[in-house]
C-alpha cells in the first residue's frame, strides 16, 4: 500500500491511498484503503490520514476517523491521537501496520507498530527525511 497526506499553504488538507491488497488475497477482498474514515481520511479541522496495515482491523477501528475524533473530542494533539490509535487500539487487536498523518498546522506524525514501513516527509523550509524500518 502507498499513500500521501498533505497540507498546502492555504491550510487545506488532503489524503490519498492506493494498494494492490495482500499477496494471495481472496479475490474480491477489499481492505481499509478505499474506505474513507478507515484507511483514508481528511478534514481541515483536524487531520489527514493515510494508513497501511492489516486492513480488516483498520476498518473495524475506523482508524483515520478515530484519530480525528480524539483530536476533536479529547483535545489531543495529532501525535497523541495517532499514537493512541496505532499502539493502543490497533496493535493489541491484531492490527499491525501504521500510518502517515498531518494536522491543520502542518505537524506530521508517522507512527507504526511493525516492520516493513517505508516513510518520507518534508515541511516547507526543512530538508526531506526518508526512513525504512
Amino acid at each position: 500500500t502507498v499513500g500521501a497526506v498533505a497540507r498546502d499553504r492555504d491550510g487545506n488538507l488532503a489524503a490519498a491511498t492506493s494498494t494492490g491488497g495482500m499477496t494471495a488475497k481472496m479475490p474480491g477482498r477489499i481492505g481499509d484503503t478505499p474506505i474513507p474514515g478507515a484507511g483514508t481520511f481528511a478534514d481541515n479541522a483536524t487531520c489527514a490520514v493515510s494508513a497501511t496495515g492489516h486492513g480488516e482491523v483498520f476498518i473495524r477501528y475506523t482508524a483515520g476517523a478515530e484519530i480525528a475524533a480524539r483530536m476533536r473530542h479529547l483535545g489531543e494533539t495529532l501525535e497523541q491521537a495517532a499514537r493512541h490509535v496505532v499502539m493502543e487500539d490497533l496493535a493489541p487487536n491484531d492490527g499491525s501496520g501504521g500510518l502517515v498523518a498531518v494536522d491543520s498546522e502542518g505537524n506530521i506524525t508517522l507512527p507504526f507498530n511493525c516492520e516493513g514501513m517505508y516513510r518520507s516527509s518534508v515541511r516547507e523550509g526543512s530538508d526531506p527525511e526518508t526512513a525504512i524500518y
Binding site: A6, T17, S18, G21, P27
Partner: protein, 174 residues
Amino acid sequence: MSGYSLAIHGGAGTILKSKMTPEKEAAYREGLSTALEAGEAVLRKGGSAMDAVEAAVCALEDEPLFNSGRGAVYTSAGAQEMDACVMDGRDRSAGAVAGIFGPKNPIRLARAVMERTPHVLLIGPRALELAQEAGLEFGDRDYFFDQKRWDALQKTMQMRESGEEDDDPARRHG
C-alpha cells in the same frame, strides 16, 4: 498561515527485513524520494494539497517496488485487483475505487469518482467506463506484470499448501 507539509508511505508488500540488501534499500529510498519530490513540487508552486497527494501517489504507483499500480501483488487466483481513495479536507468530499484492473494510476480514477460522480465508491465495469470517460491511461497485463510479485504469490501458495506458519506481518499488509 504556515507553510506546506507532505508525508508519504510506500509499502512493499512482502519484504522481510532479513532480505533487505544495501542495493534494495537504495532503490526504495530513491523511489520514496522521487515520489516526495513529485508531491512537493506541486506544493512549492502554491498548488493544492489534493494535487500534491495525487502526484506523490502516482509516482509510487508507477514504481514497481511498491505495492500499488504497476507493483500490485497478485490474488490467490493469479490476478491483480487494485483499490484507491482520495479525500479532500476542505469539505470531506471523497472518491474511491475497489477491485479494479486496467488504469495505470488507480488514484486518478478515485479522484474522478469524487469529481465526476455524486458517489463515493465505485467497483466493476462502471468504474472502468468512468476511467475511459476521464481519459485515463490504461495498461495491459504485460504492463502490470512483475516477476517478484508473481514469485511471491507462488511462495505464499506453497506455504499455504504445506501448512507452513507465517509470522511475517507484512504478508497481511498491502
